[in-house]
C-alpha cells in the first residue's frame, strides 16, 4: 500500500521506526505551517506539532485509506489547531505587522522582503482564509482535499481562496 508521498502505510501501522522518521521529516514543516497559520504563535505551533505527530503515531492504525494520508494528517493538524484556539479562547494577535513596508513601493524590495511582507499580511487575514490559502499552495493539495482537511464544502474552499487573495491584495497594495 503506497501513498503519493511514497510511504509504506503498512509499515507505519506496524510502528516501523525508519518509516516514521521518513514520515516525520516529510510532514513536520507542513504540519507546523498549518498549525502556525491557525494559532499564529511559534512556541504553541511547535508544541501542537509534536502533539499532532504523537496523535498520528497513536492513531495511524485507524487510518482506513478513504482519503490520502496527507489529507488525513492535515485534517488532524487543522482540527488540533482549531481546538487549541477554542480551548484557550484566544484571538490571534498580530505581532509581525510592520507598517513601514506599506510605504515603500513593492518593486524596490528584495525577494525576501516581499515574502516577509506577504507573510505578515497573510497573518492579518481571518484564520479560515489563511489556512485555505496555505493549503492551496501546498504542492499536492486539490480543492477537494482542502475541503476534507477543513471540513467544509468544495465551493466554500474556492470562495475562501478567492476572498483571501482579494483581501491580501488589498492589504499589500498593488502587488500583482
Amino acid at each position: 500500500m503506497k501513498n503519493s508521498m511514497d510511504f509504506n502505510i503498512k509499515k507505519l501501522k506496524e510502528g516501523s521506526k525508519d518509516e516514521f522518521e521518513k514520515f516525520y521529516n516529510c510532514y513536520v514543516n507542513r504540519i507546523y505551517t498549518i498549525i502556525y497559520r491557525v494559532v499564529y504563535n511559534e512556541a504553541d505551533a511547535e508544541d501542537l506539532t509534536l502533539e499532532v505527530m504523537m496523535k498520528v503515531y497513536d492513531k495511524i492504525r485507524t487510518f482506513r485509506g478513504d482519503a490520502k494520508l496527507s489529507s488525513w494528517v492535515y485534517r488532524i493538524a487543522y482540527n488540533h489547531g482549531i481546538s487549541f484556539l477554542r480551548r484557550n479562547k484566544r484571538t490571534v494577535s498580530l505581532e509581525v505587522s510592520d507598517h513601514s513596508y506599506e510605504d515603500k513601493h513593492i518593486d524596490y524590495l528584495e525577494k525576501k522582503e516581499v515574502a516577509y511582507l506577504v507573510r505578515s499580511k497573510l497573518m492579518e487575514l481571518p484564520e479560515k482564509y489563511r489556512v485555505a490559502l496555505t493549503l492551496f499552495h501546498f504542492e499536492d493539495l486539490t480543492y477537494k482535499e482542502i475541503a476534507y482537511t477543513m471540513g467544509i464544502k468544495m465551493g466554500t474552499v474556492k470562495t475562501y481562496i478567492h476572498r483571501g487573495k482579494e483581501e491580501l491584495k488589498t492589504l499589500i497594495g498593488q502587488l500583482s
Binding site: 514543516n29 502533539e51 505527530m53 503515531y57 490559502l133 502587488l175 500583482s176
Partner: protein, 125 residues
C-alpha cells in the same frame, strides 16, 4: 512578482530544528509508557498458590506416617495436627481451588485494566 508565486514560496514554514530532538524524546517516552508489563506472574502466582495448597494437603497426609520417632516428630505432629485442623475444616480442596481461580481472575482484571489506562493516558510534554 505574481502573488501566487510568492504565496507558493512561503506556503511551508520552517519549524525549529530542535523539534526533531523533542519528537524523538517524546516517542521514546511514549514507547516506555506503553511497554507492557509481563503477563507471566499473573498466571504463575495463582498456580503457585494452588500448588502450595496441594502441598499442604499432601504434607498432612504423609507426615504422620513417616516421622513419628522422636521429639522432632512430636513438633511436626503438632504442626501437622494444626494444619490438619485447618485443612479438614470444611471443604479445603474446593476452597483452595476457588481461591486460586479468584486470585487469577482478579490478577488478570488488574493487568488488563492498568493496560487500558496506559493506552488512554494523556500525552505529557
Amino acid at each position: 512578482m505574481e502573488l501566487d508565486n510568492i504565496l507558493k514560496s512561503i506556503a511551508i514554514e520552517e519549524a525549529s530544528p530542535d523539534l526533531v530532538y523533542r519528537w524523538k524524546m517524546n516517542l521514546m517516552a511514549r514507547k516506555a509508557a506503553r511497554r507492557k508489563t509481563s503477563l507471566w506472574p499473573y498466571i504463575a502466582f495463582p498456580l503457585l498458590f494452588s500448588g502450595v495448597c496441594y502441598y499442604i494437603v499432601a504434607f498432612k497426609e504423609n507426615i504422620l506416617e513417616y516421622f513419628m520417632t522422636d521429639r522432632f516428630a512430636w513438633v511436626m505432629e503438632r504442626i501437622s495436627y494444626s494444619l490438619s485442623q485447618f485443612v479438614d475444616s470444611g471443604n479445603f480442596h474446593t476452597w483452595s481451588i476457588v481461591l486460586s481461580l479468584t486470585l487469577a481472575v482478579i490478577s488478570l482484571i488488574w493487568y488488563f485494566a492498568t493496560d487500558l489506562r496506559r493506552d488512554s493516558a494523556p500525552i505529557r510534554f
